[in-house]
């Protein structure tokens, strides 16, 4: 029998398009202070290990991991950094506790996207240097290529993708921590400027700043620290080939395989029936629909109907991205999965007011690392 591990405290900043008043380290410090206060732990005495999340070029440092301990209260303590998404860091922290040698582990992610003045070039630097980078094109083209093939294969329409944007930005209006809530129409999305056909400006989530810290604990400790532990029921992660030339363009295979891994661990046979609330990657509008299919909430080509029928609305049968998602909260890079996990934790605790999903007992958080990556990570949480 696998040991139980819970999230016992969360701390987060607001997510905003800019945060000129705070340095990236102070942003993390704010989230960490809140998380430790909520969990009732002293990082200098109680926390056994820390896991941070950082991508050197996004942070603006070589060896950015060396800059992680101070603002987490982790100096002269065991620390390691994951160059990936927060959910990968969460799984690392989870596994540390499963060893039985560590009882309390903190996990962190942060985005200071507003500091990146050449975002397009930094993203292009993630492309294969000899086969792809010489084209020197805006990296959104990868999403344009994928969206076009997805629409072609599944007969999903641009209108259905636009409905995702409308829903998520509407949800964000009821989320105080979201930076991009708006009341807009399908026409607004379709008529916004074309970036990379069929992708328009409003189909793309806006880059944003923010930080999240969570405290994880073993079962015995968790029960002492909080009356509302949120248990980790299952995790999965997977990366497809990085080659643009040989990857699958129509579906998110890495999400499907990560989901199979997580569902098996959480003993979930019918995700649509058994999962009450979902936060999944919607960095681009069509990704929400593509990911719904990969996560087996419907068959391939049926996600468009789910949005048409209101199934994924907060009051629907399967609420998806009640926080507003990346489209409504903002695109947080390595911190994307942290915002997804945060919303699931708050939903399961019943603490989100107007956007509360009724009878939320099991939730799924999913992240994808944005173009040009093919890495997907999933955590299934329960109360």
């Amino acid at each position: 029998m696998i040991k139980k591990v819970a999230i016992v405290g969360v701390g987060y900043t607001n997510f905003r398009s800019t945060t000129p008043d705070l340095s990236y380290r102070e942003l993390t410090y704010e989230a960490a202070t809140k998380a430790y206060e909520e969990a009732g732990v002293d990082p200098r005495k109680d926390i056994d290990s820390f896991v941070s999340t950082a991508e050197d070029f996004f942070e603006g440092y070589s060896i950015a991991d060396e800059y992680c301990p101070d603002q987490l209260g982790a100096v002269l303590k065991p620390v390691n950094t994951i160059a990936g998404d927060f959910l990968q860091s969460l799984i690392t922290a989870y596994m540390m506790i499963l060893t039985g040698r560590l009882n309390i582990v903190a996990v962190q992610a942060m985005s200071k996207a507003s500091n990146m003045t050449t975002l397009g070039e930094l993203e292009l630097f993630a492309f294969d240097p000899v086969f792809n980078r010489p084209l020197a094109e805006n990296p959104h083209f990868v999403a344009g290529l994928e969206m076009n093939r997805y629409l072609h294969d599944t007969k999903t329409t641009r209108e259905q993708c636009a409905k995702v944007v409308v829903k998520n930005k509407k949800n964000a209006l009821n989320n105080p921590y979201a930076g991009h809530g708006a009341k807009i129409t399908v026409e607004d999305v379709l008529n916004s400027k074309i970036i990379s056909y069929p992708l328009t400006h409003l189909d793309i989530s806006p880059a944003s700043d923010g930080a999240v810290v969570m405290v994880l604990a073993s079962e015995e400790i968790a029960k002492k620290l909080t009356r509302k532990p949120i248990w980790i029921r299952g995790v999965g992660w997977c990366s497809d080939t990085f080659s643009l030339e040989s990857r699958d363009w129509g579906e998110s295979t890495s999400t499907r395989l990560a989901a199979e891994m997580a569902y098996k661990m959480a003993d979930i046979d019918n995700p649509k029936k058994e999962i009450d609330v979902v936060e999944l990657s919607d960095i681009y509008s069509y990704k929400e629909l593509q990911h719904l299919e990969a996560l087996k909430f419907c068959n391939k080509g049926e996600a468009g109907k789910m949005i048409d029928n209101g199934i994924t609305e907060i009051g629907g049968e399967l609420p998806v991205n009640p926080s507003g998602g990346s489209l409504g909260v903002g695109h947080l890079y390595e911190c994307s999965g942290a915002q997804k996990t945060l919303e699931i934790v708050l939903q399961l605790r019943g603490e989100v007011g107007k956007r509360q999903v009724k009878n939320a007992n099991i939730g799924l958080a999913h992240s994808w690392r944005g173009v040009p990556t093919t890495t997907s990570v999933i955590a299934i949480l329960g109360n």
Partner: protein
Amino acid sequence: MGITEKINRNIDITSWKGKIPVNYIYTAGIAGEKFFREIKDNAKIVGTKCEKCEVTYVPPKIYCERCFARLENYIDVGTKGTIHTFTILHENLDGTKKEEPTIIAVVKIDGTDGGLIHWLGEIDPKDVKIGMHIKAVFKSKEKREGSILDIKYFKPI
């Protein structure tokens, strides 16, 4: 809040502009070297085939993604393919509007499981369709330097 004294006037905020001059030499490797040499010298596209998995990789790889076998069987795969998907890009790298949009496609090379990411040319954006048959247009031999840009674009057949 972790801090008690906040900055509350934008005019008080300063920032420093940093620049990371990144220069790096990338070698194309054994398979990449072969691929770019064939493009430069012979205007040919080559791939490698995994006999066991019956998968042909373009660009070539020295290992099979599926069974991890070593691949040494280089084959000429011709210069024709189909449009697997395409996009019409209106923005430059810095987010400014392009004077003319570019059409970028995933080109599946005929008879292989791989392809190339490249521009489409000699076609109006509104006439491009998924599944369209196309072929590579190379730069003249004296202008080729062993780069993916030795192919100017793909055009309809």
